[in-house]
């Protein structure tokens, strides 16, 4: 088991640490309805100058119309008619803000009854998760559930935002009690980095700026943390994975204006992990054939090396049969070529799982038919207990499953590679996305 590691109350925030080499951080916010999530997001946007004057005027007017004494920041984020009518948040929304150091994409997942699937959806692309706790209530079932889901989706950077500290008179003992309870819980899950921050979203204390008036807290404000936390870039050091999206063939005069070659064959795709250099020997899966990299391009631009997340065109030195859905790896660290999968899965659909039905699995750029061979157990996200051999799965269930595949997939474990370790399940009748899976 991996040892837990987290920053303790006493530790200083190291301002000399440069922000990670990424101008973009994706994070999610999670918390239950009254924990002040919308207020926190509103505050972050407002204090960083990312609320436009017309937006502010609109929510001020609406707040006043409703007889509120202060601005209701949820009006900034809850945009849909039904949300306003019912005062609830329906679905994940994406918000954007920027400071001089970084750009941020917030996956704003609602804390309501559909929590599990929405949280899983938002968390799938996040580098970091802010878990909001009401200082008066402490760590609740909801907090543990959100921490577990963040863990399941591979988020290692967690912020425990202890909100409404003003309502408990900024008592360090209250804060420390919550931090201890939370750390005890997440250390049982595995390896994480937890940054706890006492704050007041309503007053903006420790949100964008640090509160000097709280002598016992020496850590960062929430914004300082978000500007400095490393974005997920561990994929750069992982073995090369390049799922082929499309074969590109220049022939019969279909060359783009400005393209040099009258004839060309190459492979388009985004590097899921690792790096690719000119001259590298690669292997193509599932066949395992080898070739060397002859060219790397992004449109007219030729590269000597392509890094993770770049969308490139690869030319090889030998003619081998490669199609969409195949995967390039480095020659010595191949993906697993499998026809059965063991995975943890979140069922997202209102239609329950049907065990005798054939579903489609979309994994990287390959889609295959699959059966559920076994539903091993269901995880109770409140207690983390395992309930053995469920008959079916219903919306928001988290299950351990075994799948039998009609064609092989080229996979890694999710803990090693978020892209080659994840898949979605598509119902071939409704064509809906009905489940999300992480490969064990």
């Amino acid at each position: 088991m991996n040892a837990p590691s987290y920053v303790t109350l006493e530790s200083q925030f190291d301002e000399t640490v440069q922000p990670a080499n990424s101008g973009l951080l994706r994070f999610i916010t999670a918390g239950s309805v009254d924990d002040g999530k919308s207020t926190l997001i509103g505050r972050l946007l407002y204090d960083t100058g990312n609320v436009a004057a017309d937006q502010l005027a609109a929510i001020q007017a609406t707040s006043q119309k409703r007889g509120l004494a202060a601005i209701d920041w949820s009006l900034l984020t809850d945009g849909l008619i039904a949300e306003r009518e019912q005062g609830i948040t329906i679905d994940v929304a994406y918000r954007y803000f920027a400071t001089s150091r970084r750009k941020f994409i917030i996956g704003d997942a609602p804390g309501h009854e559909q929590y599990t699937r929405n949280m899983v959806t938002a968390a799938s692309s996040a580098d970091s998760a802010i878990l909001l706790v009401d200082a008066r209530k402490g760590v609740t079932t909801q907090t543990r559930r959100h921490a577990y889901l963040a863990h399941l989706l591979g988020i290692r950077e967690l912020v425990l935002a202890v909100n409404k500290m003003d309502l408990v008179d900024w008592q360090p003992a209250v804060y420390q009690g919550i931090v201890d309870a939370f750390n005890a819980f997440v250390s049982a899950l595995g390896r994480h980095h937890v940054q706890a921050i006492p704050l007041s979203a309503l007053n903006g204390t420790n949100v964008a700026t640090r509160a000097e008036a709280i002598p016992w807290y020496h850590g960062p404000s929430l914004l300082e943390y978000l500007e400095a936390v490393p974005a997920r870039r561990d994929a750069e050091r992982a073995p090369l994975r390049l799922p082929v999206q499309r074969v590109v063939r220049v022939m019969l005069g279909n060359a783009a204006n400005g393209a040099n070659d009258k004839e060309f064959r190459g492979y388009q795709g985004t590097l899921a992990s690792g790096q690719l250099h000119i001259g590298d020997e690669i292997a193509v899966w599932p066949t395992g054939q080898r070739a060397r990299v002859k060219g790397l391009h992004v449109a007219e631009q030729s590269l000597a090396v392509a890094s993770t997340d770049r969308a490139v065109v690869v030319a090889l030195d030998s003619e081998i049969d490669i199609s969409r859905g195949d995967m390039l790896s480095n020659a010595i660290q191949p993906p697993r070529v499998v026809k059965t999968l063991t995975a943890d899965m979140c069922w997202l659909s209102e239609q329950p799982l049907q065990s005798r039905v054939k579903y489609l699995i979309k994994h990287t750029t390959r889609t295959v038919n699959a059966f559920f061979e076994e539903l091993s157990y269901r995880v109770d996200v409140n207690t983390l207990d395992h309930q053995a051999t469920p008959e079916t799965a219903v919306m928001n269930d988290i299950l351990r499953v075994k799948l039998k595949l009609q064609q092989p997939l080229l996979v890694d474990a999710y803990v090693d590679n978020r892209t080659t370790g994840s898949f979605i399940v598509i119902d071939p009748a409704s064509l809906h996305t009905v489940a999300a899976g992480v490969i064990i």
Partner: protein, 311 residues
């Protein structure tokens, strides 16, 4: 109030990195749609977002030429230079250009105007749906961004529309990792927004970096306008000055270029992309708040129109 506590996010290494990431994400989405859909089309209006999208499509296909056609829904109320730009771009990228006009829908009777000078912007949905049915498109690639409007912030990158073009906010497919589900039943189609995660500032920074040509309307120029509240209404044949109006000639530019009858310019002296980036970074009004005459009708005007098939 609402002063920025931070300097604008630009001109740094980090900024270059974030544009690379946004570009790579868009290329990936474009390639997924190109690979998986039967008959995709790229909606091209000649505006800055669709100019960026067209450039991204060029990069996604390269070294092949762009393998899908362009579709423009012409309200008949466009600025001449935008139409000329549209035609020039289609030629430059050797793309087939389909133009379908609201005028034809009016003639057929599927669009009925309340009065001759009514804004035709909302009626584009009808003509768009007619074009989708006519050509059998199963995916429409568009340059919409989530930062434009609150209802857009909730829309998926790959969004399913039924034969009425309706968007159902309560029944969207969950979208996880970069695994886009592009499957649609016959008669349904996808609206795909590869630049969902871009902001207005990202778009301008990318235009600068990639040296993307735009219609001259985007840059400061002298123009006759009438002030109506805080909005500058351009004096045109469709929006003539009324009795008692004071017509002024000011230096202005368009932040968004759409239908003449519903887009307003902003006072500006920004004559090049660098100036516009500086101005955008400091601006305290949203793109739509500053310039649109049609989203102000209600808090949910955009959502309502999207439910009716609006792009």
């Amino acid at each position: 109030m609402n002063e920025r506590v931070n300097t604008p996010f630009n001109q740094t290494h980090a900024a270059a990195d974030h544009l690379d990431l946004l570009e790579a994400e868009a290329l990936f989405i474009l390639r997924e749609v190109i690979a998986e859909c039967r008959h995709p089309v790229l909606l091209f209006s000649g505006g800055k977002d669709s100019a960026v999208l067209l450039h991204l499509a060029y990069k996604a296909f390269h070294p092949e030429r762009i393998g899908c056609a362009l579709l423009h829904i012409d309200t008949g109320h466009n600025y001449d230079e935008v139409i000329a730009y549209r035609d020039r771009m289609a030629e430059r990228y050797a793309c087939q250009l389909h133009v379908r006009s609201v005028e034809d829908s009016i003639r057929k009777g599927s669009v009925r105007l309340r009065h001759a000078l009514e804004s035709r912007n909302a009626y584009q949905s009808v003509t768009l749906m007619e074009a989708i049915a006519e050509f059998g498109f199963d995916a429409c690639l568009g340059g919409a961004r989530r930062d434009e409007e609150k209802a857009r912030a909730k829309e998926r990158i790959v969004s399913v529309r039924d034969e009425f073009g309706q968007w159902e906010p309560k029944n969207q497919r969950p979208e996880l990792w970069s695994l886009y589900n592009t499957r649609v039943a016959l008669g349904d189609h996808l609206r795909v927004f590869p630049i969902s995660n871009w902001t207005e500032l990202d778009v301008w920074q990318y235009i600068q970096r990639e040296d993307i040509e735009l219609p001259a309307l985007y840059f400061a120029h002298p123009r006759e306008v009438v002030r109506r509240g805080d909005i500058l209404v351009p004096v045109t044949h469709l929006t003539p000055a009324q009795a008692g109006d004071t017509v002024e000639t000011i230096s202005c530019r368009f932040r968004t270029v759409g239908d003449i009858s519903c887009t307003a310019p902003v006072a500006s002296s920004a004559g090049n992309v660098a100036d516009i980036i500086a101005e955008t970074a400091q601006c305290l009004l949203t793109e739509r708040g500053a310039t649109r005459l049609d989203d102000r009708a209600s808090d949910a005007a955009m959502e309502q129109r999207k439910k009716e098939g609006y792009f």
